[in-house]
Amino acid sequence: MKRFKGFLIKEFHHIFRDKRSLLILFGIPIVQILLFGYAITNELKDGKIAILDQSKDEITQEISNKILSSGYFMLYEDLESQNDIESAFQRGIIKEVIIFEPEFSEKLFRDGKASVQLLADASDPNLANMIIGYTSSIIQNYQQGLIKSGSVQPVITTEVKMIYNPELKGVYMFVPGLMSVILLLVSALMTSISITREKEMGTMEVLLVSPLKPVQIVVGKVIPYFLLAFVDTCMILLLARFVFDVPLTGSLLLLILESILYIITALSLGILFSTISNNQQTAMMLSLSGLMLPTILLSGFIFPIDNMPYILQLFSNFIPAKWFVIIVKGIMLKGNNFFYIWKETLILVGMTIFFLLLTIKKFKIRLQ
């Protein structure tokens, strides 16, 4: 055990003394998440909308005015009937249609409840989400004002409907996607490089000749990166939550457990790569082109899997990140519990066991 501890200390020395690996470990996650985050969160200004006011009373006028005077929106046209909505969107200019139901103010004061329907063009899902958010908050504000001034408790319900992309794919997707890429980078790439470096420097020879067991060498190599990948996970989640307001609707504990599982999958891949490459360059090439690229392209992180050719869709099933993205998305955005994601979890577990078995078969207690 003392041997093992000594080994671990050495590993941490390596990591904290190498500026490049520190940069990869902590710099890249922060930069990537800020980059992705800000690239999609553009400020909303003068968004063109259409209004279908089926009530045309005092209240709907007041709400419309509030929305239009907010500076975020600009009225492009007034619609006359439901039938105009489709064609209004298809012209591609307006991003949102606000529909007030008939007899809006009567219903509001008589029943204490009236509803506004918000239709958004979600082909740009990020923008759609933002527009809906802004509109609803203006309506909420107005409603708050009503509560203060009157004795009744009127409730305006906003009914949101996304068209063209009802599941809002893409929104917040960068967080699960980035997590899958960064954890892979830290776990697989860094571990395989750190093991092959020992081979390249000739120190592996001496380690193998020492009483250290090969399994101790591997575990000792893996633990630091496991911890660091975990730190990265927390970092990404905190940034996502507090800088970009990405919601976490599901269980944090479940998310963390699933992340740990994915880290182990990635680590086992890293060890596997290091057993088949003899120098850092090969390990890096293997990790980057054999792992990173397929992960970015085929995990559904940037390009929706549904739109891919069938053969690539099939192939994407072998990418661990694909399953991890589904899991994280489910937990963070849909609030899924384990019951909904056990299949994906099982696939990841299976992959990990497969890679580990392969590694054990491939790992050499000697140089050849």
């Binding site: 003392k2 041997r3 501890k5 000594g6 080994f7 200390i9 050495k10 020395h13 390596h14 003394r17 190498d18 420097m201 000739g202 120190t203 020879e205 001496v206 380690l207 193998l208 000749v209 020492s210 009483p211 250290l212 207690i365 000697r366 140089l367 050849q368």
Partner: protein, 307 residues
């Protein structure tokens, strides 16, 4: 009972034969040297003895243990210094030593006596990263690391390669001291003149041993008379001697050319005459005892003739 017993080892990589039927024994307490150029098979052999490689054919016992079956027992008791000094460049001198002590389940303090004489020389730099040390200091640190668990057998793969002559001298002094403390040393080197410092040597070339014996015996077995010849223009002298009809071999050797004659005894007068005629009027001829390099070259040529 020998500390190392090797019989009939073969090892090939793809099409190249790295080791071709190697057999030898190493006695307890001696310095045994493997002398040969790069690519002769020294590293492959040492990796087999340190259980890092498995031979294709043949057996090897180290400290009475088989290198294939009992590799774990061997790994605990052997100190190994790989070529290129296996140090962690980004760890300090002290951290390197401490690390190797820990993985062998010991501490620096426990075996300090053994390394003391070597370590005091690098101790002033103990906070310096190993990557920033000079070649000689790296070599000393690597030796300390290989010694820290008080091994019974020290296997050093080309510890002096690329190191300047002074550091090489100092290094051999250290090996002599270790030998006195009862440690058996198996060392390889491409520098022929280091053979004289070993108790016994194996000359190795192209995966085959040319000769295994004490340096004295190897030299004694060399029967030819060597003449050292020098003149003002050494290159021309070499060319002229290569053309001389009685020349068996002529090779540059320091400030002299080493000349051997085809006949049993060279005729000095005749040789002097030949040189005079060929413009080397102020040449100097001496007789000189063979050194290990003469023997090595002679054995190499013999081997080539056999093939």
């Amino acid at each position: 009972m020998h500390i190392v017993e090797v019989s009939g080892i073969h090892k090939s990589y793809k099409s190249t034969k790295a080791l071709d039927d190697i057999s030898f024994d190493v006695n307890y307490g001696e310095i045994f040297g493997f002398i040969g150029p790069d690519g002769a098979g020294k590293t492959t052999l040492f990796r087999i003895l340190t259980t890092l490689l498995i031979p294709d054919k043949g057996n090897a016992l180290v400290l009475g243990n088989d290198v294939v079956k009992d590799y774990k027992k061997i790994r605990k008791r052997v100190g190994y210094m790989a070529g290129r000094f296996s140090l962690y460049q980004d760890l300090t001198v002290e951290e390197n030593l401490k690390f190797y002590a820990t993985i062998f389940g010991t501490t620096i303090e426990e075996n300090y006596d053994l390394i003391k004489e070597i370590y005091v020389q690098i101790e002033p730099f103990k906070k310096r990263r190993a990557g920033k040390l000079s070649g000689g200091m790296k070599q000393k640190l690597a030796l300390c690391c290989a010694l820290i668990h008080k091994p019974d057998l020290l296997i050093l793969d080309e510890p002096t390669t690329g190191v300047d002559p002074v550091s090489r001298n100092e290094f051999w002094d250290m090996l002599m001291n270790l030998k006195e403390q009862g440690i058996t040393i198996l060392v390889s080197t491409p520098y022929m003149n280091e053979a004289a410092l070993c108790d016994r040597v194996a000359l190795i070339q192209n995966g085959k041993t040319l000769s295994i014996d004490t340096p004295e015996n190897i030299i004694n077995r060399y029967t030819k008379i060597i003449l050292g010849v020098r003149s003002d223009n050494m290159y021309d002298l070499l060319l002229k001697l290569q053309k001389y009809k009685y020349t068996h071999s002529v090779q540059p050797f320091g400030e002299y050319l080493h000349y051997t004659d085809k006949r049993e005894k060279p005729n000095l007068e005749e040789l002097k005459d030949y040189l005079n005629k060929n413009g080397h009027t102020s040449s100097e001829i001496i007789t000189t005892p063979p050194d290990i390099e003469d023997c090595f070259m002679e054995l190499m040529e013999e081997k080539e003739h056999v093939n």
